[in-house]
């Protein structure tokens, strides 16, 4: 099986940024979201990222940066190389890869 190395931004707002690297074997065609979900089960349940639907590209929650470009984790495919994952840069960070993306009037604290 091919192996992807996921280099993932960790930490919350105001934390000193750090990165964790995970090697993950995958089947051809699997998505970055497949990989992240498997990492939570097998390696680190505290890893934070957003998703609601399962690879259907219906909820549009799993936006993040792959090598600096905005992607949906559910449609970007795992590749046998280092893949750098970061939170959306123009949204307030929650933790790791999760940012505040709810419309302002649908938040508990409305700005």
């Amino acid at each position: 099986m091919p192996v992807a190395t996921l280099s993932i931004h960790r930490g919350g707002l105001g934390d000193a940024p750090r990165r964790d690297e995970f090697e993950i074997a995958f089947e051809a065609g699997e998505s970055v979201l497949d990989g992240l979900r498997r990492l939570r089960i097998a390696r680190d349940p505290t890893l934070a990222f957003r998703y609601a639907c399962l690879n259907a590209n219906a909820c549009k929650e799993c936006m993040m940066l792959l090598d600096g470009k905005v992607i949906y984790a559910c449609t970007a495919r795992l590749e046998p190389r280092e893949m750098r994952l970061d939170p959306l840069p123009n949204k307030t960070l929650l933790r790791d890869l999760a940012t505040i993306i709810a419309p302002p009037d649908e938040r508990l604290d409305r700005p």
């Binding site: 919350g12 707002l13 089947e27 051809a28 065609g29 699997e30 998505s31 497949d34 939570r40 089960i41 097998a42 349940p45 505290t46 890893l47 934070a48 957003r50 998703y51 609601a52 639907c53 399962l54 690879n55 259907a56 590209n57 219906a58 909820c59 549009k60 929650e61 949906y72 559910c74 449609t75 495919r77 929650l94 933790r95 790791d96 999760a98 505040i100 993306i101 709810a102 009037d105 649908e106 938040r107 508990l108």
Partner: protein, 569 residues
């Protein structure tokens, strides 16, 4: 007594919200309920969802069709007859009639709200799904029904204005009960990790079903059965928990991303297609299905049975399912029916003129749920349910196309009744003291355990032992394993409160509900010593007239207890 939305701090320093009507879940049922409650005069409707508003749950995932008697010559009573026949003798006819009658009105209102139902001539385009006596299923092209329904309802909710307050990322963990009446809820605010309480004159559970209990499922992350657990712990009654619908032709291989795994159903509606075994032979008629001859006529329970049995007999496709082939359909016809979807398939390396794909049964819907009356009220004052969370209308097997119809119809009915209850002032004011157990749990700390791995383990267990085919020994193994997991999960969530987007902690609150609900499925499936619709016992293969009964579940202390009742007339 209409309440104003106020935000206060209780003595325990937990943030508190007040509403006339609290709606838990912002899928089709929850959003329709919010619109209707506001239309009936509720001035403060609070619509919460554990995900983002209108993006989670099953509605947005529904790429298929919606059944409603809106065609010329059709009548909701014809739809009702098909719904009752599909329910294999266990449907509540009054609830089923509401689904068909009010559902048709909602489909027309959705049209006025410009959802974009596909047209044909002067009317709606409609397809005939298995189990229907005519073409009755409307849709939005191409594979856009669910997203269009979600988007349309969300726009209407926004149009209502300040009477509906929408808040995402609120995972309700307990309902609050005072002297037998539900007065609101306690919740985890996922974004901040903080505890939250909500007081409400009426509360509607619109959280969908329980498909997340299974490893392979067609809904989203949200469908953990949490609404069933909330209702059960609050003293409400559940029914028909043993009836989990497996959708027979869920996508299996090759890996397909960015698409709903149940997307092959509309292909079958429009183009027929052929289900073939590993040797590329027709096989449905071997297991009691029709020889389809290129049409789509086999009901869900029969197709699930046939695919599973053919694979068990060693004649499955390479990944353990069946082949679905459209290679006999000309490319122009494929493109005419599904346009841009053909390109999305090409991006996944699938060329339907050349390649068959592999399919197998996938957890899709739950017929059982919260027991309600024809106003969607539970036996607990102050508590209502709507949508898939409701049990009864679909009996032992749901008719194709009825899920969105049910969501809209029951949402509308529940919203109206909740507005009436809130205005009546019959619900006592929320008491923080009544919520202390729930808020204590939300603020508790414990050692870190791998709750994500435990959920994956529970999903494997349910798929293996409590799938479409059950035996006494498998169900007993599942019951014991669930007991062990209950002990492993413990009484407090891992980590500390106040951590933003803490999925490990959210998983713990989900597990607490999933283990309880999975236990009720096992309990009801064990007791039903017959096979009927979606509940197939390999050790009791026949359907018994004496079992034309609904099984009810209640919680006594920490233990769920089962009783039986003749099906409502």
């Amino acid at each position: 007594m209409l309440r104003r939305m106020i935000v206060t701090r209780t003595p325990a320093d937990v943030r508190h919200l007040e509403a006339d009507v609290l709606i838990i879940g912002a899928g089709g049922a929850g959003m329709y309920a919010a619109i209707e409650a506001a239309r009936r005069g509720a001035q403060c409707v609070l619509l919460v969802d554990r995900s983002l508003i209108g993006r989670g749950g099953a509605t947005v995932m529904a790429q298929m069709t919606v059944a409603a008697a809106v065609g010329s010559g059709d009548h909701w009573q014809h739809h009702l007859a098909d719904t009752l026949a599909a329910g294999r003798g266990l449907s509540d006819p009054k609830l089923a009639a509401l689904l068909c009658e009010v559902g048709a009105e909602c489909i027309l209102e959705m049209d006025a709200w410009k959802v974009g139902w596909a047209r044909s001539g002067n009317g709606f385009a409609a397809v005939q799904a298995p189990g229907h006596d005519r073409a009755r299923c409307v849709y939005v092209d191409f594979l856009s029904t669910g997203p269009a329904v979600s988007r349309t309802l969300r726009a209407q909710v926004q149009r209502v204005g300040p009477a509906i307050r929408r808040i995402g990322e609120v995972a309700v963990t307990d309902l609050i009960v005072q002297d037998g009446t539900v007065t609101g809820a306690a919740a985890l605010h996922v974004a901040t990790g903080e505890a939250l309480t909500i007081g409400a004159g009426a509360t509607i559970v619109a959280t969908g079903g329980l498909t997340r209990l299974y490893a392979r499922n067609s809904a989203s992350l949200n469908m953990s059965g949490d609404g069933y657990a909330l209702a059960l712990r609050a003293g409400a009654v559940l029914q028909d928990m043993e009836f989990v619908q497996f959708f027979p032709i869920g996508h299996l291989a090759p890996r397909l991303i960015g698409m709903d795994p149940i997307m092959w159903d509309p292909f079958r509606y429009k183009l027929g297609g052929r289900l073939l075994n590993g040797a590329m032979e027709d096989f449905l008629d071997r297991w009691g299905g029709d020889a389809e001859n290129g049409t789509y006529s086999t009901t869900r329970d029969l197709a699930t049975y046939a695919i599973t049995k053919e694979a068990e007999a060693g004649r499955g496709s390479p990944s353990g399912g069946a082949w679905l082939s459209f290679t006999h359909v000309p490319e122009a016809e494929l493109r005419g029916a599904f346009g841009p979807v053909i390109d999305r398939l090409a991006a996944n390396g699938i060329d339907l003129t050349r390649d068959a794909i592999e399919v197998s049964p996938i957890a899709h819907y739950h017929m059982g749920g919260v027991r309600v009356d024809t106003s969607m009220r539970t036996n607990r004052p102050g508590l209502l349910a709507a949508g898939e969370a409701v049990g009864g209308a679909n009996g032992a097997n749901r008719l194709s196309g009825n899920a969105i119809t049910e969501a809209l119809a029951y949402g509308r009915i529940a919203g109206a009744e909740a507005a009436r209850i809130a205005a009546s002032g019959e619900t006592p004011a929320f008491s923080p003291a009544a919520a202390s157990d729930a808020t204590g749990r939300l603020r508790a700390s414990s050692r870190v355990v791998n709750t994500a791995e435990m959920i994956a383990r529970l999903q494997r267990l349910m798929s293996t032992e409590v799938g479409p085919f059950r035996t006494a020994s498998g169900l007993a193994r599942a019951g014991l394993a669930l007991e062990a997991m209950r002990a492993e999960v413990g009484d407090a969530p891992p980590g500390v409160s106040g951590v933003p987007h803490d999925l490990a902690r959210l998983d713990w609150f989900d597990l607490r509900q999933m283990i309880l609900v999975a236990g009720t499925v096992v309990q009801a499936a064990t007791a039903r010593t017959e096979s009927r619709g979606a509940h197939q016992r390999e050790d009791f293969p026949g359907t018994e007239e004496a079992w034309r009964l609904n099984q009810l579940v209640e919680l006594r202390g920490e233990t769920s207890s089962l009783s039986r009742l003749p099906v409502a007339a």
